[in-house]
Amino acid sequence: MDALNFVLNGQKVSYEGSANDRLLDVLRDEYDCKSVKCGCKEGECGACSVLIDGVLYNSCCVAMGAIADRSVVTMEGFRETERFAVLDKAFAEMSAVQCGFCIPGMVLAAEALLSANPHPDEEQIREGLSGNLCRCTGYNAIVKAVGNAAKEGNGLW
């Protein structure tokens, strides 16, 4: 069987396992991307969110076959970016992180949103993050943080 090539956080990698394997499991177990969390494995919570060619996906619902030759970004890669630094500061200022379990997915959802719409209003932010469950915060602080990041990072997205 041919190895499956894809780009993970900017690095070319090739995966030897089955094309049916779940991206979530492979990222965690083979590539040590432990920021990608499993909250349900059924596509309902967003804790496992990753970016595939810049688009937000629940990695628990993606088979390895589907990412051949595509680019996958997890928090391990995203945290090295300037955009992350802006979101990081905004989340810190709002104390928007509580237990933290939803956060890597939530932040990638924010990145996907801001990439598509650099100046979202509150309703658009709520829409953009609506696939990511957070049980701790009640969302207000997160929504405000993303709004603040959009303002602060003017031009970055």
Binding site: K34, R126, R135
Partner: protein, 714 residues
């Protein structure tokens, strides 16, 4: 804003934000370098049965089947009573009960072995209906005044029944635990948990070893809300026994369906209230509270105590009689969940007061206001409200923000369109800390501060960070008292091998009770501070002198030293075509004393408030006629998303508690407790009020609304 309230960057912000925090599922290798075995539980598939036998296929090398026979000590999980087994005894009592565990290196193989195991059940008739269940784990009764006289003299007597359903904590990180045998024979257990010393006590007993023979560490924990108070003791004993047998590290992480179906949740309840009214005032309340405890008693005693103490609400009624029981059914044991028995009873009393007012033809808020308890009034248990009761001011503040009184009057006019509006208000307290003398007699909290030669100070306590910010707020208190920069004070995740027992992370007690010990310890350290030296101080719990001793036999005295208060208003719009209720505005006014960090407290309030709205409206979970919980995934058990309540406004009212650090009181549970009353009052008003539609249960879903509207059509 006071200096201590000013927000800082949380100590755990950075690792969590960047996805670097290590939760229990994230370890690649065990501490001793070996591979980690996966453990998966063999759950009972029937609600009640005698186990005739378990047929385990021949296991490949390196795989184990673990059950009660492998327990070196006592097959009891140390919680309150001795009834919850680690692995089942000769019967199973609920669907999901652990019969055994399969352990091995490859999780897919473990799954296959599990599916090949045959359990031979001799099925017995399960008890599933709370209304006909007979076996009571706990039965309580208290009261004061002359009930007979009050009811004999009443102008009106009202009687009603209220019901609440399950609520699942749905922390985003499911339950997970890992046990690692250490050199020298001790057992290291770590994972997702709120209470390291509860787990310590449980594992020690099951492994039958000395206190030094086990040590427990709290990993980064992805939410708890009460769900990781007692259940981790169960899971920890199960993995510890497995690790002992395999003599290798074993980790068990629940999948979402397992977690939703089989772990502890909020007790479903039935509350009946009889009220006597004379001259427009409630003169007597007779409250009868029934909680569905599930198959084992676990924490039901203490949950029920808190629930029945709150039964008469925030009102001063001269004659009170309260009875309460936790009944056994063959279902998953219920346990702790934010609010701990009080959301159920506050819901009942708030609806009752509203319904009485509507029947008397008086404005519901004014009616409640006329009954509010004030400072120095007796509590339900003949204790005393020692400190000012700010509820009236808090009501006025909410009114100002959302125009409550005006909207209430406007929405009470007949509405006929497709969309109809309503607004409701509830007022509640949350007794801060353990009920009764628990802090003094059972917990006896101890904390230490360790100063290093380089001037850094480490906090030694057993309270776990579960998102509520305790790693930050504890440090703020100590830094403030010692006048140190915040970076110099640190508080790591607790390990029983290093920290004293400052009690569990429950009951909204950490900051108020342990925070105050830390403040006092800091003063001690300040007084003996010597630069360049390593120093340590210790501080122990002292009960405030003003408290009227509480008797649990009589339910008499101060159940709590002080109370946190909340007033909530919720405004809704009901779509009479679809039954869907939209929350137009949710306003929460919370008194938690001085906030130890404004953002952190607001985060707690907003998070809890939204959980309360979920509990009231969409979070429906039930079991079928076999005792199986069907709502076991996020598609069958809905929790609020970013879009459900865009307009949620929380505010803080500060009534300081002199015995809390800088005036702080317990905060974590408060924001959830009062929501159901406010929510359902609003929906009921939108539907035309209680004379047309008397609503009396939560969650109240879109389906429930349609059912009500159907009655109208008939």
């Amino acid at each position: 804003m006071e200096k201590i309230s000013q927000s800082v960057v949380k100590k755990d912000h950075s690792p969590k934000m960047g996805g670097r925090s290590v939760y229990v599922a994230d370890y690649n290798t065990a501490k001793n370098g070996d591979g980690i075995l996966t453990g998966k539980i063999l759950h009972s598939k029937v609600a009640r049965a005698r186990i005739r036998g378990v047929e385990v296929p021949t296991l490949p090398d390196g795989y184990y089947y673990v059950d009660a026979k492998d327990i070196p000590g006592d097959n009891n999980v140390n919680i309150v009573l001795d009834d919850m087994p680690v692995y089942c005894r000769d019967t199973v009592e609920y669907i999901g009960e652990a019969i055994g565990m399969v352990v091995g290196p490859d999780s897919k193989k473990v799954d296959r072995i599990l599916s090949e195991i045959k359990v031979n059940y001799e099925e017995l008739e399960p008890v599933l209906d709370l209304r006909t269940a007979k076996e009571a784990f706990f039965n309580y009764e208290y009261g004061h005044g002359d009930m007979d006289k009050a009811f004999a003299e009443a102008d009106h007597v009202y009687e009603e029944e209220f019901e609440t359903g399950y609520q699942e904590q749905t922390y985003l990180e499911t339950q997970g635990m890992m046990a690692e045998p250490e050199e020298g024979g001790s057992m290291y257990v770590h994972g997702s948990m709120q209470c390291i010393y509860y787990v310590h006590g449980a594992v020690k007993r099951v492994l039958n070893c000395e206190p030094e023979g086990v040590h427990i560490f709290q990993d980064v924990t992805g939410g708890g809300f009460g769900g990781k108070e007692a259940f981790p003791s169960i899971l920890a004993t199960e993995v510890a026994v497995a690790a002992k047998k395999a003599n290798a590290p074993v980790r068990c992480v629940f999948d979402r369906r397992e977690d939703m179906e089989y772990t502890s949740k909020r007790h479903p309840s039935i509350c009946r209230i009889r009220a006597a009214v004379k001259d427009g005032k409630v003169t007597a309340l007779d409250c009868d509270v029934t909680f569905n405890a599930g198959a084992y008693s676990t924490l039901s005693a203490v949950v029920l105590q808190r629930g029945i103490i709150a039964a008469p609400g925030v009102y001063n009624v001269p004659n009170i009689h309260v009875t309460g029981r936790a009944l056994k059914t063959n279902t998953s044991p219920c346990g702790a969940y934010r609010g701990f028995g009080a959301p159920q009873t506050f819901f009942a009393i708030e609806m009752m007061m509203d319904h009485i007012a509507q029947d008397l033809g008086v404005e519901s808020l004014a009616f409640k206001e006329a009954h509010l308890a004030k400072q120095n009034d007796p509590t339900s248990t003949c204790g005393k409200y020692h400190f000012p009761v700010p509820v009236q001011d808090m009501i006025n503040e909410v009114d100002k923000v959302c125009d409550y009184r005006k909207k209430k009057a406007e929405y009470s006019k007949p509405q006929t369109g497709r969309y109809r509006r309503g607004i409701g208000m509830s007022m509640i307290f949350h007794g801060a800390g353990f009920t009764g003398s628990g802090e003094r007699d059972i917990i006896k909290a101890v904390t230490r501060l360790h100063k290093y030669a380089d001037g850094r100070v480490e906090i030694l306590a057993s309270n776990g960070e579960i998102g509520q910010g305790v790693r930050t707020t504890f440090c703020k208190i100590v830094a403030n008292e010692l006048n140190l920069p915040l970076e110099k004070v640190f508080y790591d995740h607790p390990d029983t091998a290093r920290v004293p027992d400052s009690g569990p992370t429950v009951a909204s007690r950490s900051l108020m009770t342990v925070g105050e010990l830390l403040r006092r310890a800091s003063i001690k350290l300040r007084e003996i501070w010597k630069d360049g030296e390593e120093q340590e101080v210790e501080e122990r719990y002292r009960q405030p002198d003003f408290m009227i001793p509480f008797s649990l036999e009589k339910f008499e005295g101060d159940a709590y030293p002080t109370y946190a208060w909340a007033v909530n208003a919720i405004e809704v719009e009901v779509d009479t075509l679809t039954g869907v209720t939209k929350v137009l505005g949710a306003y929460g006014n919370f008194d938690v004393g001085t906030p130890m960090d404004y953002n952190i407290v607001m985060g707690q309030m907003e998070g809890g408030f939204l959980q309360g709205i979920g509990y009231s409206s969409i979070e429906k979970m039930d079991y079928d006629d076999k005792g199986r919980i069907r709502n076991n995934s996020f598609s069958d058990y809905l929790i609020p998303t970013t879009k459900d309540v865009p307009n949620m406004q929380c505010m803080l009212h500060v009534e300081k508690f002199p015995d809390g650090p800088y005036g702080a009181k317990g905060a974590g549970e408060l924001p959830l407790v009062g929501v159901p009353g406010a929510y359902l009052e609003a929906v009921e008003q939108a539907l035309g009020g209680c004379k047309k539609h008397k609503l009396n249960h939560v969650p109240f879903t879109a389906e429930d609304t349609l059912k009500e509207l159907m009655k109208e059509a008939e």
